[in-house]
Amino acid sequence: MTGTTDASRPKGPRADCVADSAGGITFDMAGHGAGEAPLPERGGEPALVLRRRGAAPAEETRLPLTPAGGDRSRAVLPSTVELAEGHWDVSVGDRPVEPGIRDVRALVDRVPGPSGPVAARVPYPTADGRLAVRSWLRARHAEAGDLTFGEGACTVEGRLYGAPLGAGAVAEARLGDEVREVPASGEGHAFAFTLPYDRLARPSLDRQRVWQLWLRPSAGAEPVRVARILDDVWDRRNVFVYPESEGEGFRAAPCYSADNELCVRVTPLP
């Protein structure tokens, strides 16, 4: 049967966004602006709503939508408005917003001041095609940088935020209650540590282990999670892939979690 597409069917709201390096995000919407038909909302004021996924009780941040000339309207998330760590789904009223053009170049290669806290917010498209904001908010943060590989070990270099590096700094690999510790070196805010894989493969493995990496900046200090959040990559599992090394009865490689936290995966050899 032949036929015609009705291009006039209304589509869901869509937002273009621009992220700045300080953590602010500007959302620009076309066609669903403040001047349009009343939106089903409290107070009647049009707003872009950010809701934290899985939060109980519900957590939301409302950003007023204001006319921005022509058929467009704008909402701004200032860097000073705190967003708890997590995934924030973007909607207008109860309608999810589709991602338009996301200009997040200012997030690439970001190096904030060393004092902390560290806030990172990356607007991203969810797997089902909706706009969301990934937020990280950490009083102290150990940002992983380049990883290098030696015989049966990997060396992690990075930068520490919100805490000084001092005597007795160590890196910890944690798996449940188990902890393996290696010394960390540091100068200013730059840290480095080398993790021999065989220590993560003992006692011998019967299944895959994924160790989480932490940095204890000085003797007695609270440990800081090692992660990589200071750029535009909201999920780096398939983008930052590292060489696998083979040891006695196991294979091991660093990897990132869905939350961009650095881990070491140790898999028994068949």
Binding site: M1, T2, A7, V108, D232
Partner: protein
Amino acid sequence: MHISFLLHNAYGIGGTIRTTFNLAEALAARHDVEIVSVFRHRDEPTLGAPAGVTLKHLVDLRRHSPGYDGDHPDYQAPARVFPRGDGRWKQYSRLTDTRIAAHLRTVEADVVVGTRPGLNVHIARQTRRGPVRVGQEHLTLDSHGYRLRREIGFRYPLLDAVTTVTEADARSYRTRLKLPGVRIDAVPNSVPAPTVAPADSTAKWVVAAGRLTKVKRYDLLVEAFAKVVAARPDWRLRIYGSGDATGNERDALRALIEQRGLHNHVHLMGPANPLEPEWVKGSVAAVTSRLESFGMTIVEAMRCGLPVVSTDCPHGPREIIEDGVDGRLVPVGDADAVAEALLGLIQDDELRRRAGQAALAASRRFDPVRIAERHEALFAELVARGSGAASRGRGRDALHRARGAVLDAAYTARYRAADVLRKGKRA
């Protein structure tokens, strides 16, 4: 003018679809424009419907649709009109033969435009007398197999014009096929101005984007980048894209990245759509293909203000890049030359900034409005002349049709014979 495009599938993703949408939308500002999609498998076009353009379809493959055609008996019968040499032949059928024929017999248009060889053949054979017939080539004559080249060689004489996307390909059509009276013009693909601000040349990233297939030679780019990193470890490379039906080099590239110790410097980003906000994260773009029918990504990157280092491969790059001004052209397959050209732009901030601005200015010639004007001028000239009338006349047309029918029978017989031979060999 009333302009009617015939497109394989307006609801999918691809360069031809994007380019046809851009052109149709630009033409629709002044003309009555429709896109007739042979197939429809989803409700909405993935790339978004072009504004002001009427979209129609001929064969409905949406299972939930009351007009679903997938169960039609003719849908399983092999196509006779759509040429076997076209890579999409298997998707066509007796049903498409008759639906396209019915459409072309009754089409209310001054100009009918085909967008792939198989559809151009339909237009040559089945369009009612009257409309101007234009066949667009979005790939190249070289890229077609022997069978398709022969088929279009004897069908295209019934077109009024063939447009290619490069001058190089237009020359191939003029010199390698005998198409008397058929106008052959090169009109490049268009790329709209990006909606993001152009790159400012300060980011220490090289960006590449395309399908992860062998022809794109990203292995060469990775090899070249190993040399770049040796000199400038502060620069990194992002490669956007995924594999397609013809292959996926992802694992091979990942292994090469690992082998060269580039895991901190080269990242396979996966697919991204739209690409504009990804280009502007970089300051230099790289294309290391063995072949580029046109070189759409080169124009896209330039429109975002990036100078492009590209292999001087057939056909497009040298018609887009002015070597040393808005980018660099390097020999095909030469990793050292790629590395040297990249480093030339990486090491010289001022040169990179200037080349980026030159790329931004030079790429405006690919704006959809300007490209549409070139198609529009061609269409208007052909309409004024009248389809086939001035140069060939009705008799010749009829003669050609008769000859076509005879050749058809001959080719069919020959292909059958060839198939039998091949099967015999295999057995």
